[in-house]
C-alpha cells in the first residue's frame, strides 16, 4: 500500500514538474521581459495559488473539471471517463497549485540577466529565440532549476487540493500525504510513522541529488555549451 501510494505520488510530482517546465519557461520569459501595462494582473493571477487555501483552489478546480463543467463534459464525451477524481484531474489541480513555485524563480532569474548582454546578442545578429537559448537560459540555470525543484517538492507534499479533487482512491488518487492522514485516522500510528519516514527519506534523497547537480553546474557553468 505504501509502495502504491509512493509510486503514485512520485509519478504525480514528476509529471507536474515536467508540465510546469514546459509551461513555466515561456510564461516566466513573458513575465520577465514583457512591458504590457496590465502585466501586473497576470503576475497577481500567477501568485494566487500561493495565498489561496488549498481547499479553495481544489474546490475551484473541481468546479472547472467536474462532470457539470464544460471542460468535464467535453472530456467525458471524448473518453467516457470523468476528469475529476482521477489521476489526470490531480495533475491538472497540481499544475495550478505549484505554478507560482515554478514560474516565480524562473522569472526572477530571467530578469536578473543583464539586459545589455541581450542587446549585445541582438547586435551580433542573434534572433530573440537564439538570444534566449545561448545567453538568457544558461545564465539563469540556477533559477530554472530552483523552479523545477520547488514545483516537484511542493507537489510531493500536496494535501488539501488532492483531498478535494482526488477522492482518495487507492492506486489512482491516494497520494502518500493522504495515506498518512488515513493511517492516523485509523489510529495506526506505527504505519503512519513508517510512511512518513519513507517519504521524508525519499524527498531528501531526491532534493539532495538535484541540488548536488546544481552545485556542480555552477562551478562548471562557464563550460556550459
Amino acid at each position: 500500500m505504501i509502495l502504491q501510494a509512493l509510486t503514485l505520488t512520485l509519478r504525480l510530482a514528476v509529471l507536474v514538474s515536467l508540465i510546469l517546465t514546459a509551461i513555466g519557461l515561456p510564461l516566466a520569459y513573458w513575465l520577465a521581459f514583457s512591458r504590457w501595462r496590465w502585466k501586473f494582473l497576470v503576475e497577481a493571477l500567477v501568485s494566487l495559488p500561493i495565498v489561496l487555501p488549498p481547499t479553495v483552489l481544489g474546490f475551484y478546480v473541481l468546479v472547472a473539471i467536474g462532470p457539470l463543467s464544460p471542460l468535464g463534459r467535453w472530456y467525458q464525451a471524448l473518453t467516457g471517463d470523468s476528469l475529476a477524481f482521477t489521476f489526470r484531474g490531480l495533475v491538472i489541480g497540481s499544475v495550478f497549485y505549484s505554478l507560482p513555485f515554478a514560474v516565480q524563480p524562473m522569472a526572477a532569474s530571467f530578469s536578473a540577466v543583464d539586459r545589455k548582454l541581450m542587446d549585445a546578442s541582438a547586435i551580433l545578429g542573434a534572433s530573440p529565440w537564439l538570444t534566449f537559448w545561448r545567453i538568457v537560459f544558461p545564465l539563469s540555470m540556477a533559477g530554472v532549476l530552483t523552479g523545477i525543484v520547488l514545483s516537484f517538492a511542493h507537489t510531493l507534499g500536496e494535501f488539501g487540493v488532492v483531498l478535494m479533487i482526488g477522492g482518495n482512491i487507492p492506486g489512482k488518487t491516494r497520494t502518500v500525504s493522504i495515506l498518512i492522514y488515513d493511517q492516523v485516522q485509523s489510529l495506526d500510528y506505527a504505519a503512519a510513522n513508517r510512511t512518513a519516514l519513507l517519504l521524508l527519506v525519499i524527498c531528501f534523497a531526491i532534493l539532495a541529488a538535484l541540488y548536488g547537480l546544481r552545485r556542480n553546474r555552477r562551478q562548471t557553468m562557464w563550460g556550459w555549451q
Binding site: 548582454l117 549585445a120 546578442s121 551580433l124 545578429g125 542573434a126 562557464w222 556550459w224
Partner: protein, 379 residues
C-alpha cells in the same frame, strides 16, 4: 584623414546619415524631460560625439543600433534605410549590421573569449570564421586569450576582446560608447592605436561617444557637441574646444573661470570692448563683438591663461590687471591651484616653483594679469 596608404577603400564609402527626434522621459523628474533633436552625417572615419552625461549621447547610439526607436526621423547607411518614420521602416537590430561597443562591454561571462568573438559569426562558414578569428586575434594581440573567460583576463584585455567581437563581423557602422572610461592612460593609448589602425584599413563610419577632452583630441577629425538633446557645435576638435561658443562646451573645454559681465563701451579702432564684471567694480577688456552697450555677456578665462604678480606690474602689454587676495592654495599633481578673491573669485593655475619663488600663501595680496585674447566670449 592622413597620409595616403594603398588600401582597398572604395571612393564612395557609405555614409551614416542620422536624423532623430525623440522625447526622452526622465522617469523620476518630469521637469527633466527633454527633446532629442538632431541631424548629422558621419562619413567613413571617426566622428566624435562629445557631451556631458545626460545629454542624450547614448540614446543617439541606441537609436542607430535599433535598441531604441526615435519618435520621428530617419537613419540610413549609404542607400540602405535602417529607420524611416515616414516610410514606416524600422529594421530589427540584428539585421542592421551595426557594431556596438557598450560602456560596460557586455562580454558574455559564461563563454570563452573565442566563443564571444565568434558569436556573431554563426552564419559564416567555418573556414572563414577561423581565418577572421585568427586575423583579429593577431591584430589585437589577444590570440593567447582565446580559451579564457572574461573574468579571467584583465580590464584592458577585456576591452580589446569586446572591440574585436564588434569588429570581426565587419559591421557597416561602428558605435563606441565611452569605451575607454575604465582604463589607464597606457592601455587607452594602445587601444586608440588599434582603433585607428583598423579605421585606416576599413572605410566605415565610426561614431565615438565620450566626455573626455583628451580622447577628442586624440581621435577625431570631427567633433559634434551634444547638449540637452541638441547639437550645439560641429567642427574640428580645435575649432570646437579652443574657441567655444557655448558655455557648456566651455566648461567641458576647460574654462575654469566664467564671468557674467555687462558691456559698458566699445572701442572699435582698438578692436576691444570694455565690460563691467557684475556686482564688482572690475572692468575688463575683451575682444570686440557685435553686441550693444549695456547688453549682458559671459566671458570665459582659462586658469592657465592668468599670470600672477606679487607687486603691481608696470609696462605690461596686457590690458587687464586686477588686484586681489589669495584665499586658498592647493597642489594637484604638478599644478598649484590658487583661488583669488578680487570682488569675484578667480581660479589660477601656477607651477609649484612659481608658488615657492613668490612665497605665495593665503591672505597674500596679488595682482592677476589677463590678456584680452585670453578672454573668450561665450553665448
Amino acid at each position: 584623414m592622413g597620409v595616403a596608404v594603398s588600401r582597398l577603400v572604395p571612393e564612395s564609402a557609405p555614409e551614416l546619415n542620422v536624423e532623430i527626434r525623440k522625447t526622452l522621459l526622465d522617469s523620476t523628474n518630469h521637469a527633466a524631460n527633454f527633446l532629442l533633436d538632431l541631424q548629422f552625417i558621419a562619413p567613413a572615419g571617426i566622428t566624435v560625439l562629445f557631451g556631458a552625461s545626460g545629454s542624450g549621447k547614448t540614446t543617439v547610439l541606441d537609436c542607430i543600433a535599433g535598441l531604441r526607436k526615435p519618435d520621428a526621423g530617419q537613419i540610413t547607411v549609404g542607400e540602405r534605410a535602417l529607420f524611416d518614420s515616414k516610410r514606416n521602416i524600422d529594421i530589427e537590430t540584428r539585421h542592421r549590421r551595426v557594431g556596438y561597443l557598450f560602456q560596460t562591454l557586455a562580454l558574455f561571462p559564461h563563454l570563452t573569449v573565442r566563443q564571444n568573438i565568434t558569436y556573431g559569426l554563426s552564419t559564416v562558414d567555418t573556414a572563414v570564421r577561423e581565418s577572421r578569428l585568427l586575423e583579429i586575434g593577431g591584430s589585437f594581440a589577444i590570440a593567447n586569450l582565446f580559451e579564457r573567460r572574461p573574468a579571467e583576463i584583465s580590464g584592458g584585455e577585456r576591452q580589446r576582446v569586446a572591440l574585436a567581437r564588434a569588429l570581426v563581423t565587419r559591421p557597416r557602422v561602428l558605435l563606441l560608447d565611452e569605451p575607454m572610461s575604465a582604463l589607464d592612460r597606457v592601455t587607452k593609448g594602445q587601444i586608440l592605436d588599434d582603433l585607428r589602425r583598423w579605421n585606416e584599413a576599413h572605410a566605415v563610419p565610426i561614431v565615438y561617444v565620450t566626455h573626455e577632452r583628451e580622447e577628442v583630441y586624440a581621435l577625431g577629425n570631427r567633433v559634434l557637441v551634444l547638449e540637452a538633446g541638441r547639437l550645439i557645435a560641429d567642427g574640428t576638435p580645435h575649432e570646437v574646444l579652443s574657441r567655444p561658443q557655448k558655455e557648456s562646451v566651455a566648461q567641458l573645454a576647460g574654462f575654469e573661470n566664467i564671468l557674467d559681465c555687462t558691456v559698458s563701451s566699445h572701442h572699435i579702432d582698438e578692436g576691444t570692448m570694455t565690460c563691467r564684471v557684475e556686482a564688482t567694480g572690475i572692468d575688463i577688456e575683451v575682444p570686440l563683438t557685435r553686441v550693444s552697450d549695456g547688453a549682458p555677456l559671459r566671458i570665459g578665462v582659462r586658469a592657465g591663461d592668468i599670470l600672477m604678480a606679487t607687486s603691481q606690474p608696470q609696462g605690461l602689454s596686457a590690458r587687464n590687471v586686477i588686484a586681489g587676495t589669495i584665499v586658498s592654495l592647493r597642489q594637484q599633481d604638478f599644478t598649484l591651484i590658487a583661488e583669488v578673491e578680487c570682488g569675484t573669485r578667480f581660479v589660477v593655475h601656477l607651477t609649484p616653483a612659481a608658488g615657492r619663488a613668490l612665497e605665495l600663501g593665503p591672505q597674500k595680496p596679488v595682482w592677476l594679469v589677463i590678456k584680452t585674447y585670453s578672454c573668450h566670449l561665450l553665448q
